[in-house]
């Protein structure tokens, strides 16, 4: 009985802390909205947050310039390393909280690869886990206020999607030889419409890297732009600005969900493409 009461007390306490932090953030945003020098008219620049700028000094962004994107990508990699290498260093039988987080993610992705792509896709599991971890951490780091979401840039996601596309195509041809092309020849359809279907299948295959990268970059960019637009309303509305602040909180919660789901979707589509490469026959 005693433990029960302490448990509920602890729950209430953490709930109160979370509510207090949320309220504090809202109040801060409210004050910041007033201090922001807005020029009397509604001027919102939701796309400014995606600007790539050099980290040190100012100047042109060259091929090897260290920019804010570089920094946030490095931070995402560092966070992944911290969780997966330092977290599992103890190798305890009874895992610590960090270790069980790492084990949970590992098991989750492994299960997904096995379920969707099949057992013979397991050699690609490290690659898929790397993709998942990087996207997940980049998405969540981007949710920190004032942070930069690296996955909102098509350049970042396109590299990953092109990597997946090339891997899948090369693996498909190595494993199946020329019979990989039967992926475009739908046997279950009537013979008359198979050529038409082949063209459609071919186009949908070729558009994969575009849709794969755009899905992630587009939803991250759109979500963060919406946050910025609603934040821009706060300063313009004065005291009534409490309404957009509440909607910012709601959208932020939605973005938290989207960040996880998009990492999951990118990974599961990689598994689906890999399944097509390993078993091209419909």
């Amino acid at each position: 009985m005693a433990t029960e009461t302490t448990n509920t007390e602890a729950k209430d306490g953490s709930g109160r802390v979370i509510a207090f932090v949320l309220f504090g953030l809202a109040a801060l945003a409210f004050v910041a909205g007033f201090l922001d020098d807005y020029e009397g008219s509604l001027s919102i620049h939701p796309m400014d947050q995606f600007e790539v700028s050099p980290l040190f000094g100012s100047g042109d962004v060259g091929l090897f310039t260290i920019t804010n994107v570089t920094m946030w990508m490095a931070l995402a990699v560092l966070a992944v390393v911290a969780l997966m290498v330092l977290g599992t260093r103890g190798r305890a039988v009874i895992p610590s909280r960090t270790q069980s987080m790492a084990e949970m993610i590992y098991g989750f992705v492994r299960q997904m690869v096995e379920d969707v792509a099949g057992k013979d896709a397991l050699p690609f599991f490290p690659y898929i886990l790397t993709l998942f971890l990087y996207i997940l951490f980049a998405n969540y780091l981007g949710l920190i206020p004032m942070a930069f979401t690296t996955t909102s840039h098509i350049a970042v996601t396109a590299i990953m999607a092109m990597g997946v596309f090339l891997t899948v195509t090369i693996v498909g041809f190595i494993k199946n030889g020329a019979s990989f092309l039967s992926l475009f020849w739908v046997i279950s359809a009537p013979l008359a419409i198979r050529p038409v279907l082949a063209v459609i299948e071919f186009i949908s295959y070729m558009v994969r890297p575009l849709s794969h990268s755009l899905r992630l970059a587009g939803s991250m960019m759109a979500g963060h732009a919406v946050l910025k637009v609603f934040a821009g309303f706060v300063g313009a509305l004065g005291l009534a600005g409490i309404a957009p602040i509440l909607s910012v909180v709601a959208i932020y919660a939605l973005e938290f969900l989207v960040a996880g789901i998009q990492a999951y979707v990118f990974t599961i589509l990689t598994c689906v493409y890999l399944k097509d490469a390993l078993h091209p026959h419909h």
């Binding site: 796309m47 997904m112 755009l214 899905r215 587009g218 759109a222 979707v265 599961i268």
Partner: protein, 78 residues
């Protein structure tokens, strides 16, 4: 508010392209709604189909994002 006719066309085009994202919303709602209808009929089979649900949502969403891309391209890249 000054600007050329071309700029006006740019904005109108971007606005028209944004309609496509609404169409994607219908598609995503259709996928999720049908999943829920099926899941409520046979809840024990629902958990095994969540991956399919997300794949379906992702494919429906991609076409909406193409529309979003066209809008962004019209606004910033033309």
């Amino acid at each position: 508010m000054e600007g050329s006719i071309a700029q006006m066309g740019q904005f109108i085009g971007a606005g028209l392209a944004a309609i496509g994202t609404g169409a994607a919303a219908i598609g995503v709602g259709h996928v999720a709604g049908n999943f829920l209808a099926g899941a409520l009929r046979n809840p024990s089979a629902a958990a095994s189909q969540t991956a399919t649900l997300f794949i379906g949502i992702a494919f429906a969403e991609a076409l909406g994002l193409f529309a979003f891309l066209v809008a962004i391209l019209l606004l910033f890249a033309v």
